[in-house]
Amino acid sequence: MSLQLSRGEVTSPVQSQESKSTAAPHEKTITVAVAGNPNSGKSTLINAIAGTRLYVGNWPGVTVEKKSAMFEHGGRKIKLIDLPGTYSLSPYTQEEIIARDYLVKEKPDVIINVVDATNIERNLYLTVQLLELGIPLVIALNIYDEAEQKGYRINTKAMEEMLGVKVTPTVATKKAGLEELLKAATESADNPSRYLPKQLNYGDDIESAAAVIRTHISEQYPSLDGIYPTRWLAFKFMEGDSRAAEEASLKMDAAFIDKATAHLKKAHGDDMESIMADERYALATGLTREVVKRPEVRKVEITEKIDRWALNRFLGIPIFLAAMWIVFKLTFDISQPFGDWIDGATAGPVSRLADKMIAAVNGPLWIASLATEGVIAGVGFVLAFVPVIFAMMFFITFLEGSGYMARAAFVMDRAMHSMGLHGKSFIPMLLGFGCNVPGIYATRTLENPRDKALTALLLPLMSCGARLPVYVVFIGAFFSSYAGTVLWSMYVMGIVLAILMGVIFKRTLFRGESPMFIMELPPYRMPSLRSLMIHTWEKGKHFLIKAGTYIFAVSILVWFLLNLPWGVENKKDSYLGKTGQIIAPVLEPVGFGNWEAASALVTGLIAKEIVVGSMAEIYAVEQAEEAPTTVSEDLKEMGTTFVAAAGDSFRNVFATFGIASISAEEDEGASGLKTVIQKTFTPLTAYAFMAFVLLYMPCVVVAIAMKHEFGSWKWFGVAFAYQMVLAWGVALVIYQGGKFLGIG
């Protein structure tokens, strides 16, 4: 431990030497809940303690992330639960409700309260509320090094005495103080009576009113004694927090509470909730004044210097756009060559290997087809998303951890707010242009469920990279002389419709007050690489397991759809062709009511880039025969292409202009397809078809990502419904309008 402590003001924790019990190590698992403000370094601390033992999931029924870990420390089993970062324990936000429900109901053995040493006063406001619960608590005085650099002198000994809990300075980014913290936590959990936090005095008038209510609760509901902290319940009653009463299945006697608090409201001239908040802050302020000495002269801090540029009236937006351009470019250009490599390897060498193995054991043809086109293609399809998910998670976590995410929201909020969104919605939307899937996952940076849902609903209208091959073929066939303009119009169409739908949703589905925007702008900090890596790995793994299984299942299903009944000669007679025939009449008014186009669109539900491939197959465009290869050649090919992919990825980062992921090359064989579609489409129907591909249902992976992020199919259902209607409607307007004007 290299923690530098200032001039002996920190002493060893209270009574630590005598608490060693001679009894055998306790068998009981200690449950440790970690609570703290956002930006207090809580996740870095958790990562530093639990590392790869962390399990990331969701709190039941909500989309808030839940991290937990089981491990042994000093011979003791410890179960670590990370509570959502909160500023308070009010009954209003999802995060706060989760945190307090967990603390009240599950009663962890000890709470580790992470307190930002550079911002003690506001952090102690939460501490004061945690102390009300009467659960043993230890304070991790985190980011202690930065506080020292600022010249703060914190008397942790005095803090321990005033709160009756242990206080350990920590620097989570450097893993300093963690050993002491865990020791303090286990000790406090083992001796709850000795380390029970002090009940702070809220002032005579509040205390006497609380006492009256506590007596009332004990008399009326004796069964609750020992289950719920009655002092906490009394406070909640006084604040008019009906949620707490419901949870404890108490009937709140409004008249009684009113009577008990009437004199308080009169004396303070405010509502009870505000009086309590005021009092808690007064306690936090008083404590801070006692224990923290700040230097007289304040230095101009680095954050201030950066923000002079980053939030500048004129430069703020250009800097923001430049930052976003870099994030977009890095996310997609680093990951794309690897994604392509996985794609190529599974479709080529791996499939050929499987083919040979099945042929070697004389397996039937349909098994070979299922294995390569179903199973291996499915696995490849899932894996191809992994690089981009990892890259996106890495950069999003970096933006959040560094403090720039809050600035991005600050700069963009005005523009996004006009379509009913939040400043933070911009980044998921932007990522959507590369691929909608990481965009959906990036909505987790939005705290408010409403903002998050609306962002995810509009996001699929951002024209992703997978739609590009479709545009390229159709533009090549019909609009080659003004290709750029037509391509551009697709992107603009998506954005304009997103704005329009945003305004419509704001007035209908999401009517009512738009959520508030009251956000901390945390100091800029360098996130630790270790923490970034762990976070990225956990998210990527989670995607692979949770979403991967779904995606895989769907690809198998598609194989059956495409190839059954087995041995169909004409694609028209396959289940897919039959589905196409059923759907075709619906597409008649929009200009492409034939089974070929309909079937291609059906396959596009899986992934939009498939549309081109399936059209080639349906129109039976001749494909170049592959030359037979040997096993060793295949293995060698995989190796060399991987090296090439790594090289491409590296080069992409330094290729300053142009974005590899949104520039498409023509596939071989596309020229054959072009000739065919020139016969079946007109420029007008081609344009309507392109618009339809842009707008109709987001692909299956987006569907699964939405289910994954929101915990239910509800929002995907909404997206599916409105997008189908929108796609059909827009294509109709284009086709019928064009016909009316005599185009096509």
Partner: protein, 75 residues
């Protein structure tokens, strides 16, 4: 006089929080309390939201929310 009317660089003392319910509670949770000294730091490039310093940290809020916070300007 309300918080949205202060210009960047100006200080004020909060005299009343007009909003009610969740917004008021949230503001108070973030340290926006009556009697607290507040400084307006910046206005976002597009004119909204604003950034203020309160209780030794930086907070951003939309003008709509700032309008509900009455302040007395400190000269």
């Amino acid at each position: 006089m309300n918080l949205a009317m202060l210009k960047p660089g100006e200080y004020g003392t909060i005299t009343k929080i007009g909003s009610i319910g969740p917004i008021k509670r949230r503001l108070m949770d973030m340290g926006v309390l009556v009697g607290e000294k507040v400084k307006v730091e910046k206005v976002a490039p597009l004119g909204d939201p604003i950034e203020v310093t309160i209780k030794n940290y930086n907070l951003s809020l939309r003008k709509k929310e700032a309008e509900g916070i009455a302040v007395e300007a400190i000269k």
